[in-house]
Structure formats: structure tokens, C-alpha cells
Amino acid sequence: MELHDVWFVLIAVLWIGYFFLEGFDFGVGILTKLLARDRPERRVLINTIGPVWDGNEVWLLSAGGATFAAFPEWYATLFSGFYLPLLLILVCLIVRGVAFEYRAKRPEENWQRNWEHAIFWTSLLPAFLWGVAFANIVHGVKIDQDFEYVGTVGDLLNPYALLGGLVTLTLFTFHGAVFAALKTVGDIRERARKLATKVGLVTAVCALLFLLWTQVDSGDGKSLVALVVAVAALVAALVANQAGREGWSFALSGLTIVAAVTMLFLTLFPNVMPSSLNADWNLTVTNASSSPYTLKIMTWCAAIATPVVMVYQGWTYWVFRKRIGTQHLAEPVH
């Protein structure tokens, strides 16, 4: 295994980390409208992710930064090619971060309601758009011999990609509902479980269709294994949720994300961004990667930093392990 292969795996790990973690906090953001009945319930949901959403988001920044360093051509083609969707994602992430931090800082009804709308939409849109983006990466887009994206925005909104968007949207919402059931107490916990079942069934249909399509399109033996794991984990997550085993259910919905994203990366390899115009113009781990020296330094950095990050982020979840309900909300100080 050469260094650029190692880095393909590491980039996959960073994206998996991002979707696993931000996946449920996007989901919780969406649930503020789907599940919460009033402001205290919305606050409960927001506070389940309050201490952790910012750290979760850094997985994206790391994936972006690491792609820049390890696969500059991939970084350049992807972000200049998917320009407008990415712009929309960035706007959402900006508003979302401010919304969490500022919502409770003024008592006015309008102020709080507007930021709550913002939290919902800025969670929903990226949850959908990341699926669209990844489906397009896997499926291949119009890339010319200079590695420039020559398609239009419309080309990115093809049926396969839209289905991909639907999968991440529903899967993250399910993951979020399971997380909410795990982290809350009282009436909202029960309702989170019931909602998780409904959303989970829709997710199962979308995910099965999308993953099968992917398998038929560009799959092999390994990707089939990942597909089976993803679907089995999703079914098991639903069963565990039904049985009230919230911890298991969350671990399994997380496993679904891990397996599904793994499958996408497996079908991608050794390409990083295939061209739909000509296979000679594919960006691959070889022609898109940095020099061995850079990759070596980056490998040292990632090998040391990533496990440490996992330890202290894991510790954070342990510190904030208590369930919360409306009775735990602090009186806002204004």
C-alpha cells in the first residue's frame, strides 16, 4: 500500500467521522421542527448537541485541509467545480454556527424564532447537499483533460445525485432522532423513538435503492460487503430502537453511516473523482496526489493527531453523558 493509498483511506476516515458526528447534529437540527412541540423542547434538542457540534464540524475542515494537502488536484477540481452548491453549504454552516451561539442571547420572541428557523434550514440543506455532492463524485462528472469541471449546476442535480441527497437527509435525520432518544428524558424521548422508526423506514427504502444503484453502476465484491453491512446495520438499528435499546440503536445507525460511506469510497478507488467524459481524464490517487515527502509528513501528523482527537472528543461525550429534559434548562440570563 503506497502513501497515496493510505491517504485515500485517511480522507475517507475524515469524511466518515464528519458524517457520523455532524450527521446526528444535522439530524437534531432538523428535528427542532419535526419533533419539538414548543420552545422548551426545541431548546432541549439544541442543548443535546450544544457542547459538541463545533468539534463535530472540525471533521469537515480537516477533511478539506487534508484533501488540499494530500490531493491538491482533487481539492481544486471539487471545490471549483461544485461551486454554487458548496457556496450554499458554506452559507448554511456560517449561519448555523452563529444561530446556536446567539439564539439564547436575547429574550425577544422574534429573535429566538428566527434563529430557530435558521437552525432548521441550515441543518436540512447541508444534510441534503452533501449527499448530492458525494453521489456526483462517485458517479463521475464532466471533467476535461485539464481536470476542470466543465458541466453546469444543473448537471449536478441528476436523479442519482438527488437520490443520494435524499439518503443523507433521511439517514442523518434518523441518526439524529436516535441520538435525541438517547440523550433526552421525558415525553420527548418517547416521541423521538417513535419518529425514529418512521424516519428509519423511509431511510431504509432510499438507502437500499441508492446503494443498489451504486453497486450495479460501479460496485465489486468489497463494496457489496459494505452494502450488506450498511443495510443490515440500518435494520438492526430499527429493531434496537423498537426494543428501546437506545445506545445500541445509535451505535448501529452510526455503523450504517460508516458502512455506506465506506462503500462509496470503495467504489471510487483508485479514482478520487472520475470523469464522465473520458476515463483518461479521471482524477486518481496517483495523478491527483501530493509528493511522497508531503504525504509522509502528513501521515505522521494524522497518525498522531487523529487518535488524540478521538480520545478528547470521546471524553467530551462522557462529560456530557447525562440525559436532559425541559426541567434541566437553565434560566436564560439577559
Binding site: 463545533d54 468539534g55 488540499f68 491538491p72 458554506l90 456560517i94 451561539e101 437553565a330
Partner: protein, 501 residues
């Protein structure tokens, strides 16, 4: 295509707008994290309640600020790929590494521990909770270090080679990129300017409350802490600015000649206080100068030769081929002056304040004030009159944003002074833009970010004003009884959180 709307121009405007905006929050984040951590340390060590109230007060302002810093930083990470894809392809092998290090090491640190700090008041024992804000502070410093090393490589590329076959720059010595003198001097200069900024911010707000005789114990402490930070930060900013200037005279003589609007080389060269130039004719119409000072600033020698814009341009043409290697001279010239002027104005005010509020043996016993009294402003042996006292407080309040202006112009100067290069001597800015991104797309994104940032600026400032006016909060039972166990002491399962969104 109309040059004013050419993709290169638009991409540069967007980079300028988003970066200057982002950097309004960065220095305040860096300094307020450390200052808040310092105040909390004082609380943990002395258990004096005024320190905890001050920690909560400045911590709140810090959080309002860092939220903006974090979200505007996301754009910085991605716009290289979006608007500058040819730049990214060419330099990614070198430039990407410090960015990835920044994310993997610094951002994770900052973002994870900030969550622990915000929500951890009733979940973490006192000392661990204190350690969290120090971790955040270390994260902010590390983050700034890596990104400044990356920028320094654009100013003065080292530790790389050009791979002709692949048509790109490749890293050969990462340690050199991280430790070259440009990087170390930029880090020194930016860090000290960050503390100058935070000091002025703290002094201005403390002055606001002291003028109204509100929250005196906390604001007395804050005033003193702010003044010391401002004075030390200001002094170090001046010192590091001087050494960075000397480095730049070696590495980018054009930038420094433009900073002085020195059209033709002189020996000894004067420092220009004021000049009105005529770019087309390559000389100044009006100039007010201090003889020999520029020679000294460039080479620590009042007699040395300093090359001018015209000679440097010719030298660069011989080295890199025909072309115009001049930056926009008035921007460099005035940017340089505004950077120094606004920064040093704050520094001076800090020095004056430090003297006026001196304590102990420097002050006659009769004029010393207690913990809950507004300090007298004493010039020599007598306190200033009420009008002059008020004037000082007002000056401190009105000038508290001066360092922000200085920082912005410092960046505008150093980035625009490097033009037409994006990587000095290696790649020109016009070759760096994304060839596949249309004018309409860049225009859309530039307008989107500008409008969004403008709205958020209004929201942020209003929120800051509200919390500044509110002053330090009253302490609660929970504040004074921090938990002894990680995760909180679980005596009462329904006990409300100390803080929630």
C-alpha cells in the same frame, strides 16, 4: 471583459473582503481567550469573586466574538479551492500541509475545548474547567501560527522545488517552512498586535463602566490588566514590526519601497511622513520627510542605500522578464501609515493610562484608592480634574477599535504590497484564479458573502453592546459551588444546567 468585473478582480475582492472581515475576530479571539483564562486562573487561585465575575463578563464577549471567528474561518479553508483552483493545484503540495496541520491540531483543540468550557461550569471540577480555557487559548495560538507560516511561504517561498514535469511546487523541507525568519517574525508581529487589540478592547470597555462608576471592582482589575496588555502588546508590536520590516527589505524590496513611495533609490534615504504621489510620472509631487530615517529602518544604518520603486522594477524585469512589478503604490503607502498610526495611537494611550493609574510607591499615599473606588488619574502629584478624567475615559472608549483598523491595514498592505505576485517570485495572481469558474458565479459568491457578513456584523455589534452595557453578571449558587466530580455531582437528578443554549 471589463477589467473591473474580471474574475481575477472579483476573486481578489472576495478574498480581501472575507479575509479582512475574518481577521477582525481573530486578534480579539486570540487575546481575549488568554485574558479570560488569566482572569479565571486568578479566580481559582485567590477565590476572589470579582475575578469570577470578570471571567464571566469577558468570557461572554469572547464567545460572541469567537463564534464569528469560527464561522468566517470555514470560508477561508475552502475559497482557495473555489476561487483559486490553479493556485491550489500549483502550491497544494506545500501550502496544503500547514492548513491540514492547523485543522487537525489546532481547530480540533479549540472547538472541542470551547464546548467543554461553555457548558462545563457545572460538569467539571474547577481546575479541569480552567484547563479547558487554556486549551482553547493554546488552540488559537497554534492555529494562528500554522496559517501565518503558510502565508509567510507566499511572502517568501522556501523549502520547496519546482517539479517541471508536474508543473507544480513541491515541498522539500517542511521544518524550514515552519521556522523561516519571515514566519517567525510574522507570528511575533501578529501575536503582539493581537494582544494590543485585546488590551485596547478591555481598556475601552472598562473605561466605559468606570466613567459611570459601575461594576468598579471588576472594571478596576480589567482596566489594569487591559492597560498592561495594551502597553506590552504595543511595545512588542513596534519592535516586531521593525524586525519584520527589515526582513521585508531583504525579501521584498518592492513592497517596502512602495510603503515609502520612494520612487528612486537614495543614500541615505529619508522616511516619508506625508507624500502625494503621481503614479504615472513615477515621482512624488509633495513630500514631507525625515532625513536618513528610512535607511535606518531598513538596515539599522542612517547612511545606507535604499532602492526605490523604479530601480526595483527594473531589477525585477531583468530577473523575471518584461512586465510591471509595481503594486498599487498609494494603497501600500497609506496602508503602511494607517497601520502604524492607528496601532501606535492605541499604544500611546495605553502608556499614558498606565502612568495615570500607577499604584503603590509611585503614588502619594493620599491618592491611593481602595478596591471598590474608581482609581484617580494622577498626572504628577494631583489627580486630573473631572473634565480631563472624563476625557481620558472617553478617548479610551472611542479608540478601542483603533487596533482593528491597524490590523486590517497591515494585512491589506502586506498582501497588496506583494502584488502582482500571489507567491512572491514564483506565481502571479492572475495565473492563480479558477479557470472553470464563471464571472457570474464569482460575482454571486462575492455578493452573497458581503451581504451576509454585513448583516452578521450588525447582529454581532448589537449583541456586544448589549452585553457590554449589562456588565458582569451576579454570581449564582452554582457558580460558587463548582462540582468535584467530572460530569457533575449528581445529588439532584432534575437540577438545571448552569448554562444552556
Amino acid at each position: 471583459m471589463d477589467l473591473a468585473l474580471a474574475p481575477e478582480t472579483l476573486a481578489r475582492w472576495q478574498f480581501g473582503i472575507t479575509t479582512v472581515y475574518h481577521f477582525l475576530f481573530v486578534p480579539l479571539t486570540i487575546s481575549l481567550a488568554a485574558l479570560t483564562a488569566g482572569l479565571q486562573t486568578a479566580w481559582v487561585r485567590t477565590e476572589k469573586e470579582k475575578y469570577l465575575r470578570a471571567t464571566k463578563f469577558w468570557g461572554k464577549l469572547f464567545l460572541i466574538n469567537i463564534a464569528m471567528g469560527v464561522v468566517t474561518g470555514i470560508v477561508q479553508e475552502f475559497q482557495f479551492g473555489m476561487n483559486w483552483s490553479d493556485y491550489s493545484r500549483f502550491v497544494g503540495d506545500v501550502f496544503g500541509a500547514p492548513l491540514a496541520f492547523e485543522a487537525l491540531i489546532a481547530f480540533f483543540f479549540e472547538s472541542t475545548f470551547i464546548g467543554l468550557w461553555i457548558f462545563g461550569w457545572d460538569k467539571l471540577p474547577k481546575k479541569i474547567h480552567l484547563a479547558c480555557i487554556w486549551m482553547v487559548s493554546i488552540g488559537t495560538l497554534l492555529s494562528a501560527y500554522f496559517i501565518l507560516a503558510a502565508n509567510s511561504w507566499m511572502q517568501h517561498p522556501v523549502g520547496y522545488r519546482i517539479n517541471e514535469a508536474k508543473g507544480r511546487a513541491e515541498l522539500t523541507d517542511f521544518w524550514r517552512v515552519l521556522t523561516q525568519n519571515t514566519a517567525l517574525n510574522q507570528v511575533f508581529h501578529s501575536f503582539s498586535a493581537a494582544f494590543l487589540t485585546g488590551g485596547a478592547f478591555m481598556v475601552g470597555i472598562a473605561a466605559f463602566h468606570l466613567m459611570r462608576k459601575k461594576h468598579i471592582p471588576e472594571m478596576r482589575t480589567s482596566l489594569r490588566l487591559g492597560l498592561v496588555t495594551l502597553a506590552v502588546g504595543g511595545l512588542l508590536t513596534a519592535v516586531s514590526g521593525d524586525t519584520l520590516g527589515k526582513v521585508m527589505y531583504e525579501q521584498q524590496p518592492m513592497k517596502m519601497a512602495a510603503a515609502e513611495a520612494l520612487w528612486d533609490g537614495e543614500k541615505p534615504a529619508p522616511f516619508s511622513v506625508f507624500a502625494y504621489g503621481d503614479v504615472d510620472q513615477g515621482h512624488n509631487k509633495v513630500a514631507l520627510e525625515i532625513p536618513g530615517l528610512l535607511s535606518f529602518l531598513a538596515h539599522s544604518d542612517f547612511e545606507s542605500y535604499v532602492p526605490g520603486i523604479n530601480d526595483t522594477n527594473e531589477a525585477l524585469q531583468q530577473k523575471f522578464g518584461p512586465g510591471d512589478y509595481k503594486p498599487i503604490v498609494p494603497v501600500a503607502y497609506w496602508g503602511f501609515r494607517w497601520m502604524i498610526g492607528f496601532g501606535m495611537a492605541s499604544f500611546s494611550l495605553g502608556l499614558v493610562g498606565l502612568w495615570l493609574t500607577r499604584k503603590r510607591f509611585l503614588l502619594p499615599a493620599a491618592l491611593r484608592t481602595g478596591e471598590d473606588e474608581v482609581p484617580h488619574l494622577v498626572l504628577l502629584k494631583k489627580p486630573l480634574g473631572s473634565k480631563l478624567t472624563r476625557l481620558y475615559w472617553l478617548l479610551a472608549l472611542w479608540t478601542m477599535a483603533f487596533p482593528l483598523i491597524a490590523n486590517s491595514w497591515g494585512w491589506i498592505f502586506t498582501e497588496m504590497g506583494r502584488q502582482p505576485w500571489v507567491v512572491y517570485g514564483v506565481m502571479q495572481t492572475r495565473d492563480a484564479v479558477s479557470p472553470g469558474v464563471s464571472q457570474a458565479e464569482i460575482l454571486t459568491s462575492m455578493i452573497t458573502f458581503t451581504v451576509l457578513y454585513a448583516i452578521l456584523a450588525v447582529v454581532e455589534v448589537k449583541l456586544l453592546v448589549k452585553y457590554v452595557k449589562a456588565g458582569p453578571p451576579e454570581l449564582t449558587e452554582a457558580d460558587l459551588n463548582p462540582p468535584t466530580k467530572i460530569g457533575g455531582d449528581s445529588r439532584d437528578a432534575d437540577k438545571p444546567m448552569a448554562f444552556s443554549y
